[in-house]
């Protein structure tokens, strides 16, 4: 962005500065020998035009809303409208979560987000032996369409956009939501929302699974195909780096593995004979936002740029919509501390700020008490207010890509891009030219687990050695009573859930259920898209567990990759 003469002049004056001004100061030393981000990415003292001499403004940065989208996915960004404030909610039974939904809508939240309990996430019914002790904990229990009917009672699903954080059993929840739209008389093409449904990152990081990776990928592709045809405003996959980061990866690994997963889905869709421009606009992403503000902003910007370029170069995307990386962000749960929990409000604020400066499309801010237990109502409100203060009071939402052109941020963006690409190429190579095969191979031989585990262990050691300061944990500690007011799940939740499940099973037509499950089984056998069959099955009130079992019968259940710890 600077001509050679100019750069030469800057170089000279920088050298002068170092000699005359900087050096005398360095005699007093600096706080640390080495300065690095939370991902242990070393940063320099100062960045100058020399650091960005290779950047071509038009090619590498461009303008927001145009490829390569470095400066933002949309031209007006938050001046048009702010990001969607999407707080994750769900616990206990469907009634309780429904109440929380109504509360959040009244408080001004603009999108619903559903958290499911562990059994639902794993595709198990509430009456499964493994579900004991977990029903309604950490999220809402959903066994049948009847639970979804209660969950969305009094909510017009044509009016809201709902996000479902669920994976191995995502296709079942999706089918239930479609069935619910049919019941409410909402046309399918008006159904809006996002299904997490990213199975690849489950095997890499979050570890909720039922059947092995390859057939799991097959179901994801079925949902994409179904969405393209039936619910074009619904995002069937949210390719997620959040959990990869939470599992302990670096920012680079988060972005690299997530983009690789995204490309794997793209390749699987192409293998099905779909056209990039038909399905790519429906793909969305989900990232983590951690403590190192500039690193995070650089990660978001670099990811947008890589995605745009590779979607075009590798997969022939021609529509802008196919190259535009849209993403949801959640602040880093792992960064929250049980010690001095109010400090978490500040951490969340900084992380949320990074997400906004990085151009996120929607945001979940964590509650300050999450390191202790399920969030209380007050903590959820403060988290939402944090976003509102950033949006309404800070002014950061008024300028598009306000950090663009910062020597430091542009340089970090370049560095992140390079490192992310290195990983993506490595994965592609592992798959002999196919990112899809590379990801599957990496899952199979524990490559991703090892990479993440090494980073995570290294971070932990830095904390223990005191190189990484965690306020209130290894520095600035104090004696305190860490038992704030915590929401406890009513222990009768399970009984009430089991009651409903039993009632549904009594009232439904078992023969119809049986027929639907048989039809699903045949569809799996003949490689048909399974979605229409699952919709039929949920309408007959087949349970989630019953449906998932059909898949297990065909594909077996997945066993964890044993990898060197």
């Amino acid at each position: 962005m600077f001509d050679d003469d100019e750069l030469e002049r800057i170089r000279e004056s920088r050298e002068d500065w170092e000699e005359e001004t900087l050096d005398p100061f360095l005699e007093y030393g600096e706080r640390k020998e080495r300065f690095a981000t939370v991902s242990n990415h070393e940063v320099d003292r100062l960045y100058t035009p020399e650091d960005i001499e290779d950047i071509d403004y038009d090619e590498d940065l461009g303008f927001p809303g145009e490829p390569p989208y470095t400066r933002g996915a949309y031209p007006t960004m938050y001046r048009g409208r702010t990001w969607t404030m999407r707080q994750f909610a769900g616990f206990g039974t469907a009634e309780e979560t429904n109440e929380r939904f109504h509360y959040l809508i009244d408080e001004g939240q603009t999108g619903l987000s559903t958290a499911f309990d562990m059994p639902s996430l794993m595709g198990l019914d509430s009456d499964h032996p493994m579900s004991e002790g977990e029903v309604g904990k950490e999220g809402v229990a959903v066994d049948t369409l009847a639970d979804m009917e209660v969950l969305f009672d009094g909510i017009d699903i044509g009016e809201v956009s709902t996000s479902f954080t669920i994976n191995p059993s995502a296709a079942v929840i999706y089918a239930m939501y479609v069935a619910l739209a049919d019941e409410q008389g909402v046309p399918r093409d008006e159904v809006r929302g996002t299904l997490q449904n990213d199975m690849l990152k489950e095997f890499i990081a979050q570890k909720e699974w039922v059947i092995p990776p390859e057939p799991s990928l097959g179901i994801v592709t079925d949902t994409v195909e179904f969405a393209v045809e039936e619910t074009p405003k619904f995002h069937p996959v949210s390719v997620s780096g959040y959990h990869i980061r939470e599992a302990g990866s670096t920012a680079v690994q988060e972005a690299a593995f997530t983009l690789a997963d995204g490309f794997a889905y793209v390749e699987d869709c192409l293998d099905r004979g779909m056209e990039t421009d038909d399905f790519a606009p429906l793909l969305s992403f989900f990232f983590n936002s951690h403590n190192s503000v500039f690193e995070e902003v650089a990660k978001f910007r670099a990811s947008r740029r890589i995605y745009s370029r590779l979607m075009e170069d590798w997969y022939g995307a021609s529509k802008d919509e196919s190259k535009r990386l849209k993403f949801h962000t959640q602040t880093a749960g792992q960064s929250l501390t049980a010690q001095q929990p109010m400090n978490n409000i500040v951490r969340v604020t900084l992380q949320a700020l990074a997400g906004v400066l990085g151009g996120t499309q929607s945001l979940h801010t964590n509650s300050y008490d999450e390191a202790l237990a399920l969030p209380s109502e007050e903590a959820v409100r403060v988290a939402l207010r944090t976003q509102q203060i950033i949006a309404e009071e800070s002014g950061v939402a008024d300028i598009v890509d306000p950090l663009g052109g910062s020597f430091a941020v542009e340089k970090l963006t370049d560095e992140m891009e390079e490192e992310i690409l290195e990983y993506i190429h490595e994965i592609k190579e592992m798959g002999d030219g196919s990112v899809r095969d590379g990801v599957l191979k990496g899952i199979d031989d524990g490559y991703f687990l090892r990479e993440i585990q090494d980073s995570s262990y290294e971070y932990q050691q830095r904390v223990e050695r005191g190189e990484e300061v965690v306020v209130g944990v290894n520095e600035y500690t104090m004696e305190e009573d860490t038992s704030p007011d915590i929401l406890q799940v009513d222990e009768t939740t399970r009984d009430r859930q089991l009651e409903r499940l039993e009632r549904v099973k009594e009232e439904r037509d078992d023969e119809e259920v049986e027929d639907c499950l048989d039809a699903l089984s045949e569809a799996i056998e003949s490689d048909d898209n399974v979605m229409p069959y699952i919709v039929d099955a949920v309408k007959a009130y087949a349970t989630m567990g019953e449906i998932m079992e059909v898949f297990e019968e065909h594909h077996g259940s997945y066993q964890e990759t044993v990898t060197a710890i």
Binding site: P212, G556, S557, Q559, E560, V562, A564, I565
Partner: protein, 371 residues
Amino acid sequence: MSRKEETEEERRDENDELVDRLLSGDQRALARTISKIENRSPGYRDLVSRLHEHTGNADVIGLTGAPGSGKSTLVDKMAERYREQGETVGVIAIDPSSPFTGGAVLGDRIRMASNVGDMEVFFRSMSARGTLGGLSTATTDAVRALDAFGKDRIIIETVGAGQNEVDIVRTADTVAVLVPPGSGDAIQTLKAGILEIADVFAVNKADRDGADRTVKELREMVGELSMPPAAGSGHHGHHGADETGLFSDSDDRNEDDDEDDEDWTPPVVETVAKTGEGVDGFMQEVDEHRTWLAESGELEEQARERYAAEIRTLLRQDTAALIHEEIEARGGIDEYAERVLRKETDPYAVVAELMKPVEDCVRKERQERDD
């Protein structure tokens, strides 16, 4: 974790009780016995001695192969099928790679998904824990404990194909080697030792590319090896842990190579342990090998050789330890080395000096015995 000082008598009482509990089917007693074996806890030899008479009823299968060849998954499927046949199973999974810190992470258990909660499958993870030489001894003793406990089938699983692993799996009656499909490299590395001791080959993950080629290459190699009389290297079915060095002079393992016309030729089978495909066929070959062993008399022959090797190993270890003790008592080996360096003595003289009391004692005892 200091232990209270025990008298010999207390220890014997403790062993009495432990052996009784083990023989009556107490899981915890079996587990504790193996711990004592692994730890070389005081009194463990007495413990193993008492178990010996209760052994000899189990089929012992050794399974080895490169990391990632799917051993644990295959073991899981084998155990599942044995259980379906009403047999009880013991598994010893050995990870010989232990970092210098001495710690180890043992993760093979994760794969035993089909048998969780079934106490009739006893699964035990073992690390290298120090000296590898001792590991095959510890394995043998742990197998004895499982055998005495009454397990019908005992599987020894170990990773890799180095000499140490060879020694470990040799303690089994039947040795199966798992080969992942792929480049010829896998086969090449196999040549170094493991091939000679294999009774059954399984090309696992046979649904992957390159499986056919690997099977073909293996068959060719097996064919070459069993071609008589191929320079003394074609004998399969003998797994007496052959020793080299001090006590191995009487080893007769190559003697009957040419005359044995009912030699066992290792079959090569294809398996997909993950889905269970081919596992039945694999197990059938294992059983057939077992039958062959029994019918040909090899089973006893093997056992005899194994015991001979075991006696030699223990003797060597104990004499070495005794001598070591004596050297230490006399001020350590460095002292002697220094004197040799100063030409005050020479290595032969030192050894003669140190061995003399041992030789005198042994010969005197023999003289008395002969008289």
